[in-house]
Symmetry: C2
Subunit: 333 residues, 2 copies
């Protein structure tokens, strides 16, 4: 069976999609086409600016989280490819309002490199820049200090929301960076897939999977998982992910968490709701309270049939920041 998509020129998918996105949200977003980045339609003043970005194909991430209470700019690369340092530097310079810029970066080699160069370029223009590196993907954890470390996945939405709210309250750049880094230490995610997604213009999924298998620990760039396990019920698959996440965070009875039950692309709302039910029941059974949660497509991997679960330790401060108003294409309350 083919995995065809709605596409014109595969090489033009990202610029065309950016144009279509901003047309859908004229009151919220503004597009700078070259170098490409998206900012708020009404720039904020008097606060630290937040910039994020990364490869495209994960929509609504990151462009869908630009707006009051979250990001000031998002910088999209090609599908599954880092934006250039010049794109990031241009966005960083554009949104600085005199109080500096917090860059929220998912931990991938290209992103880390290009955001670092961009920070140096902006620094040369006298703009203070700090970074929060998001590395929540438990599946990519390796013993010791070897390799690039854990990948950044759906916890980035929680980091953008909470840091965004704190910036809106007037926090300074060092406080924001400290807050964000503490938050990342308390966040872990893990995903699994029932079928890979396909790149725009390609008619076959990135990889095939036997009918009785689940790909465990998939990344958001079409990477295969770290293993396979037998297909099972939504409750059993949810329990498999949760057991690992709870152990990694050392959660105990009485702890509270923010959760993200995230579609990786083609997973339907009915399925996500079933998994959210299981998350509440299984964590509740361990005495861990789901204090707040998102359920939906937030950090996708093209049209992958799969999902990820993110747990973030919550406290009163974090929950108040979570509840603060937000108005972006993908998150509004």
């Amino acid at each position: 069976m083919s995995r065809r998509q709605f596409v014109n020129d595969p090489e033009r998918v990202v610029p065309e999609a950016l144009e279509g996105l901003v047309l859908a949200h004229p009151g919220l977003l503004s597009l700078h086409p070259d170098p490409a980045y998206v900012t708020r339609a009404e720039p904020a003043t008097g606060k630290v600016a937040l910039v994020s970005g990364g490869g495209s194909g994960h929509e609504p991430l990151h462009t869908g989280f630009v707006g009051a209470g979250m990001l000031d700019a998002a910088v999209p690369g090609a599908v599954f490819a880092s934006p250039t340092a010049w794109q990031v530097a241009a966005a960083t310079t554009a949104v600085d309002a005199g109080r500096g810029v917090l860059q929220i970066v998912k931990n991938y080699t290209g992103d880390v490199l290009n955001f670092r160069i961009a920070a140096e370029l902006a620094g040369d223009e006298g703009i203070a820049v700090e970074q929060v590196l998001v590395d929540d993907d438990l599946a990519s954890e390796r013993p010791g200090d070897e390799g690039p470390g854990r990948r950044g996945t759906a916890a980035v939405v929680v980091v953008e929301k909470l840091c965004g709210a704190l910036a809106e309250q007037g926090a300074g750049l060092p406080e924001l960076a400290r807050f964000g880094r503490d938050l990342v230490r308390d966040a872990r995610s893990m995903g699994l897939a029932l079928a890979a997604g396909a790149h725009p213009g390609e008619h076959a999924p990135a990889w095939e999977l036997a009918d009785d298998e689940v790909e465990l620990g998939v990344g958001i760039h079409g990477e295969r998982g770290v293993g396979r396990r037998p297909f099972a019920s939504a409750d059993e698959l949810t329990a498999d992910l949760l057991d690992r996440l709870v152990a990694a965070l050392g959660l105990r009875r009485g702890d509270r968490v923010l959760t993200v039950v995230n579609s990786l692309g083609a997973t339907h709302g009915l399925e996500l709701a079933l998994v959210n039910r299981a998350v509440h029941r299984l964590l509740g059974g361990r005495g861990v309270e789901v204090a707040r949660g998102l359920v939906g497509p937030y950090v996708t991997s093209l049209d992958m049939a799969g999902l990820s679960i993110t747990l973030v330790r919550a406290d009163d401060t974090r929950l108040a920041l979570w509840d603060a108003p937000v108005r972006t294409p993908a998150l509004t309350w």
Copy 2:
């Protein structure tokens, strides 16, 4: 390739998903489990109540549109099956606040029958009920008055939003019914698919399609389309749908429309954004203004890879109602 889904007992998908949905939105939604319906967590007073519903598998429709500014209750049937008359009657009775109930019904035989019986049952209890029947699907239009008429699809979201806003302003039941019926006459939709979806628990899509074909005029219940056409670019496929919709509504230079670029399930945000760009360019080229628009998964057909486009004639009154505040799981501003 399998189309497996996250599911426990296929017979329990809907009640389990309802539980998971309400857990995700505790401040917005309240679940009445038996007979099953969803209401606002904080019931409205002093206004006409709005009730909709229909088969499940179209999420976020209808449960995702319960809340201030839209529905007072949504009544979900089994996957692709009408809710029972008793479910609808119970919801209708529960949300009546003394000013009557407007039922918004998609035009399918089972829904029409069961909402009509429910209206009579509620009438027996002294509750005034009016209905707006939504029949926007151009693909199901037949010459003459034969058959069940056009099916109801994604225009129902616009009807629920605008009638919801008008009810919130204090409009009476007859005015709401008149407004809704006029609106439906000015709304048409049409969809197409690149691959069928699969029922929860089934491992194969409802039907197969050749790699070079597109199924044109698909319904939202896995019905095959009214024809096939060659696969083509996003721009060409969008133009094919738009040509038919513009002709059906008799749109002319200077007209304004509300649009819904709707994922039928597995279609990615990048693809929808491309199609939204084409909608703006193609309508703009005809002198028709896209005054407001939604782009996203609003009325899905399980995990179908496909989309629909809805056009609704707009005027100042309708646009003001569109812009009125709304707070539901799937639509908030």
